[in-house]
Amino acid sequence: MQEEAASFRDRSSRVIYRDSEVFRLLDAQALSAWKDFSSTKFASKAMARGDIIQTTEASAMLASTNGSWAGALQHERLPFVSYPYEWCFGMLKDAALLHLELLLEALEEGLMIKDSSAFNIQFKDCRPVFIDIPSFEKWKPGEPWIAYRQFCEMFLFPLMLGAYKGIEFQPLLRSELDGISADYCRKLFSARDFLRGGAFSHVYLQAKLQKAFANSNRSVKRELSASGFHTELIKINVRKIRKLISKMDFAAADSTWSEYEKVSLSNDTYGSEDQRVKAQFIGEVCEWKPREEVSVLGCKTGTYALVAADHADRVLAMDADHLAVERLYQNLKKKEIKNVLPLVMNVCNLSPAQGWKGLERKRLEERSQPSLVLALALIHHVVISANVPMVQLIEWLASLEADLVIEFATREDPMVQRLLLNKEDNYCDYAQDYLEQTLKRFFSIESVKQLNGGQRLLFACRRLS
């Protein structure tokens, strides 16, 4: 058995893994909360809809513990765990709306969600699913929405920054794992921003009230309870925030890669015939063997991630361009494509291991086991723009232990010429011969395809065992 390193904050339960199964051990209090939760119609309906992770009792599991736990649950295992700082705006928005919907439904049946961590939501089949069952507990009469502050910090404020200021929340949430505080958000807002929906009350006023009452030694929670705080007040607030968030969209209209399809067809990088050939080439490599997971690095708006999706159980589609990923996510929702997970990820700065003891949030490579990696139109950006030596890039790709489709843009390619335009060309390693020679250390090159009159080359590489 292996304990989940991130499962320590709530002492009443602990997530453990046995082989490929996920269990949650509960103390007596958490077991009682589970009984309350699982006996409601809300629980069965939400699980049937797929809004809450499929969970069953697994008492037999207790026999293999040291006797300090009162109950055990088994959760459905998710194939990939993503973090809020890897989501695009639309994903965080949908996760926030799911949290609020579940809270409203839970309140109807006398339950409360005791925390609002965005890490308690995951994406499965390209839609959010709530995974932290012990968060549901009986609402205590008179109790306010205790997790309101946390909801603001992990959902509302990052979304406000995106919608009102055009600020990408991913770098902020990646460094501030507990979210963005009201005071921090207030400092980023101008006076005009406080005229936007909810900004004055949720940001400005909350920051001021937090500061003013920070040294209070009174139990405001108890006083509010004695004053007759009731669930209707919570529901009113939750509905208001739901309305506010449902109207939000990211402020900036486009970016370098969000218009990728239009741009790539208009700037002579590819013709539509080249795109067809490229898609066919990728499809053929996918079919070498059954593909459980395919990673697409630098997926842009996901044209070739969708090609891979036709041949694989699941596809991780990653790009550093937040808006390109946003466009892909909206497209996936529209077309109801369920086996692609879009992620905001910079190849040169992948999600690291971090949090408590550096174990709480895992690095990308630890969570992903692709059998095929697509690195399309990527290496010139990594080698020339980010100055990563070619050999290091290939060594890292080889460390993923997967087959590889890699696209090389020659020095005649317009994009490569543009990247070199204002740089001193000391990229002697950026050469086709050197690439092939380095690839052959780890892969066998099965086929090569020319695109755009030979300005670009596709290599199909089988990982040597």
Partner: protein, 81 residues
């Protein structure tokens, strides 16, 4: 809206002067929920403030003023798995 403005003014009047943000920023967030609820929260706001006004004259309030500190419930909103 008038209730909201009234409530905001009331809160501003009772805001303490000094602050130590590392202690408990959650208290202010709990109080804000009363303001956000608008009219529906008005009755609770009135009762809450009546408690603040009457507290110094009550037995419990005197004890608290002499140094008895009520402990917060141990619920931690930052828990997650």
């Amino acid at each position: 809206m008038p209730t909201y403005i009234f409530a905001v003014i009331c809160f501003c009047l009772v805001m303490p002067e000094t602050a130590f943000a590392y202690l408990d920023p959650g208290t202010g967030s709990m109080l804000l929920q009363l303001l956000l609820a608008g009219l529906a929260g008005a009755a609770v706001v009135c009762k809450f403030f009546w408690q603040q006004i009457s507290r110094p004259f009550s037995r419990g309030g005197k004890e608290e003023a002499e140094g008895t500190v009520e402990l917060e419930d141990s619920s931690d909103p930052n828990r997650e798995d």
